[in-house]
């Protein structure tokens, strides 16, 4: 039970970061972006490439940081991946979503996001191969913290969880203390009124895509660290990430951060009762439960 809880929290940090970026897009552009989970995939693969480049360039980078299996190269690669993934999110908007947005059809954006997801996922498969990859080939043993009840997790997980919490604090500060945070909320509430008050809509949208992509990059790397890197990361995570946004309430960033942990824990705890083969269905069950009891999620607004 406790072990399920811990595993849930660990995957929860991945879902939180993914959902926070997704819900921001859904808040200001008002469409369900089914290609968002592919950004996690891009982030994971970008970090893999940068990691190998840094290791090849400078042997020191291959050193592990303290007791973690994360190397300096990977740590540095995470930030390069953030920039690259954020930039690709902006690029996708420039190439696809912006053009469709200007024609003014929200539903076409959803279709386009599916099409884009298919393209990204399979291009990744074509370039990196369909087999799974890992950041470190060394076997990392879980540290046993207690034998009864059995509690064990890898030190790496502790690191990813702490980084997630730091990122969350940073998101909170940005939202509540900076001009960008205010303009984000203003644009979400009423884009026309926000523009009248001198908020640059285009700039805000670019910032949101970049930020969403950056958060997705971290989520992707963390997923790669705790599981493995495959071209199917996007298709495996798209539904859990959406479930997290619905639990939190579409458009609410705080809701998404909390929702990620709730979905992660609920999905893992559900596996106590359900056979593990059913785990892909669990996010859908969570969505149904939320729609039955609280359709607008924890912090969502009820608008059409």
């Amino acid at each position: 039970m406790i072990q399920h809880l811990i595993d849930g929290i660990l995957i929860g940090s991945v879902l939180s970061l993914g959902a926070a970026g997704l819900t921001m897009i859904m808040h200001i552009l008002r469409f369900a972006n089914f290609s968002h989970a592919e950004l996690l995939s891009i982030g994971a693969y970008a970090a893999l490439v940068f990691d190998q480049i840094f290791k090849a360039v400078e042997p020191f980078f291959s050193e592990q940081i303290g007791a973690f299996s994360i190397t300096w190269a990977l740590f540095l690669a995470m930030f390069f991946s953030l920039v690259l993934t954020g930039a690709s999110a902006v690029l996708f908007d420039f190439l696809v979503f912006r053009r469709i947005r200007e024609k003014g059809d929200e539903l076409s954006m959803v279709f386009a996001s599916f099409g884009l997801a298919l393209i990204i996922r399979n291009l990744i498969g074509l370039s990196f191969g369909l087999s799974t990859q890992l950041y470190s080939k060394d076997i990392v043993f879980a540290t046993v913290f207690s034998r009864d009840p059995l509690i064990a997790f890898k030190l790496d997980h502790l690191a990813t969880l702490s980084i997630t919490l730091v990122i969350m604090l940073a998101i909170h500060l940005v939202l509540s203390r900076t001009n960008f945070g205010y303009s984000l909320r203003a644009v979400g509430e009423n884009p026309e009124l926000a523009q009248i008050n001198g908020i640059d809509l285009k700039r805000t949208i670019i910032m949101v895509w970049f930020l969403g992509g950056g958060l997705a990059a971290f989520a992707g790397v963390f997923y790669g660290l705790t599981n493995q890197i495959t071209p199917m990361i996007g298709s495996d995570l798209v539904l859990p990430v959406f479930a997290a946004t619905i639990v939190g309430g579409i458009g609410s960033i705080y809701g998404a951060l909390l929702g990620g942990f709730i979905v992660g824990v609920a999905a893992n705890v559900a596996l106590i009762i359900l056979p593990s083969g059913y785990s892909p269905s669990v996010p859908f069950l969570i969505i149904i439960v939320v729609l039955l009891i609280r359709p607008n999620g924890l912090f969502g607004e009820s608008r059409i």
Partner: protein, 315 residues
């Protein structure tokens, strides 16, 4: 020659069945503006429902009620409709993202359930024990396939005329009114939620019909038949053909299915052995590219919706 002819019959049968599903999607998206991200779930519900009701009894899972095929098919359509009603009633009154996500989710969960629930429908090895209707009279050969094709074409035409009638009826006018301006429709005393739900359920029943025909044609259905790719293919058919135009949906179905099968054949014939593993990925990229470029370049499709003026005013 007979080989080519029998392939043509086979191809036309599958394309016509998929065209029926595309027509169902057109009612939902083209005419009503509802996003269905899980076409394959309703298609699959129809296929599984039909084969469970019409198949011979099996020892290892439920079903096998040996019903007459038309009744089993009707049952499959009802199963698809019920599934749509459940998803619709929970989501249609909320903002449109919820329907998109939930329909996508129901397709994932449906495929997952069918793959795992051995007791329900045979699990990963699929649903066996269904005998193709009228097999003892028509045999298994060319004659059977031609007869089946004629029936499928007849059903395709019936669905087409039914939907044309529906769309030009006052109900169809109401659908477009809600799609264009929900508040205006509401101010005239219409209930958009109920009308959307009706359109969603009817569209899904049509998809279930397509699934029931598909299952009967192969006399077999397994989780491999209800993968998400089918949803994307049916979308591509509607987007290329033209959302809101039933003729376009049918044309798009034939065009996309021809492109899909021929690209698969070309890749398997001419791609080097070592890249054969990746031909699926290449085809997926192609479908993605078709969807995105059509939306960017010609969002109204090859056959745009003809906007009708119901009662032209006096000049």
């Amino acid at each position: 020659m007979i080989g080519f002819l029998s392939y043509l019959v086979f191809f036309t049968t599958i394309a016509s069945i998929l065209a029926i599903a595309a027509l169902g999607l057109n009612l939902q998206w083209g005419n009503t503006g509802l996003f269905n991200g899980g076409v394959v779930a309703f298609f699959g519900a129809g296929a599984y429902g039909t084969l469970l009701l019409g198949g011979a009894p099996q020892s290892d899972h439920i079903g096998g009620f040996d019903l007459l095929y038309p009744i089993a098919l009707l049952g499959g359509m009802i199963v698809a409709g019920l599934l749509a009603w459940i998803v619709g009633i929970l989501t249609i009154r909320l903002r449109h993202d919820y329907l998109a996500i939930s329909t996508f989710g129901v397709a994932v969960a449906f495929e997952n359930l069918m793959r795992n629930a051995q007791w329900l429908a045979g699990g990963a090895k699929g649903l066996r024990g269904f005998e193709r209707p009228l097999r003892e009279f028509l045999g298994d050969g060319f004659l059977y396939n031609v007869s089946f094709l004629i029936i499928v074409l007849f059903i395709l035409l019936s669905v087409y005329f039914f939907l044309e009638l529906l769309v030009s009826s006052p109900f169809g006018r109401l659908l477009r009114a809600i799609r264009e301006d929900e508040y205006a429709a509401r101010s005239l005393g219409k209930n958009p939620t109920n009308i959307r739900l009706t359109a969603f359920v009817v569209g899904s029943i049509v998809m279930g019909l397509a699934g029931g025909l598909y299952g009967a044609f192969y006399a077999f259905v397994s989780p491999q038949d209800i993968l998400p790719m089918l949803t994307f293919q049916i979308w591509a058919m509607l987007i290329v053909g033209g959302a809101g135009n039933n003729k376009g949906a049918i044309f798009g179905a034939f065009l996309i299915w021809a492109a899909w099968t021929s690209s698969g054949w070309l890749l398997s014939r001419f791609a080097p052995i070592e890249t054969q593993l990746y031909t699926g990925s290449i085809q997926y990229v192609l479908i993605g590219v078709v969807i995105v470029t059509m939306l960017l370049w010609r969002p109204q499709g090859l056959f745009p919706e003809r906007l009708v003026i119901s009662q032209p005013g006096e000049r």
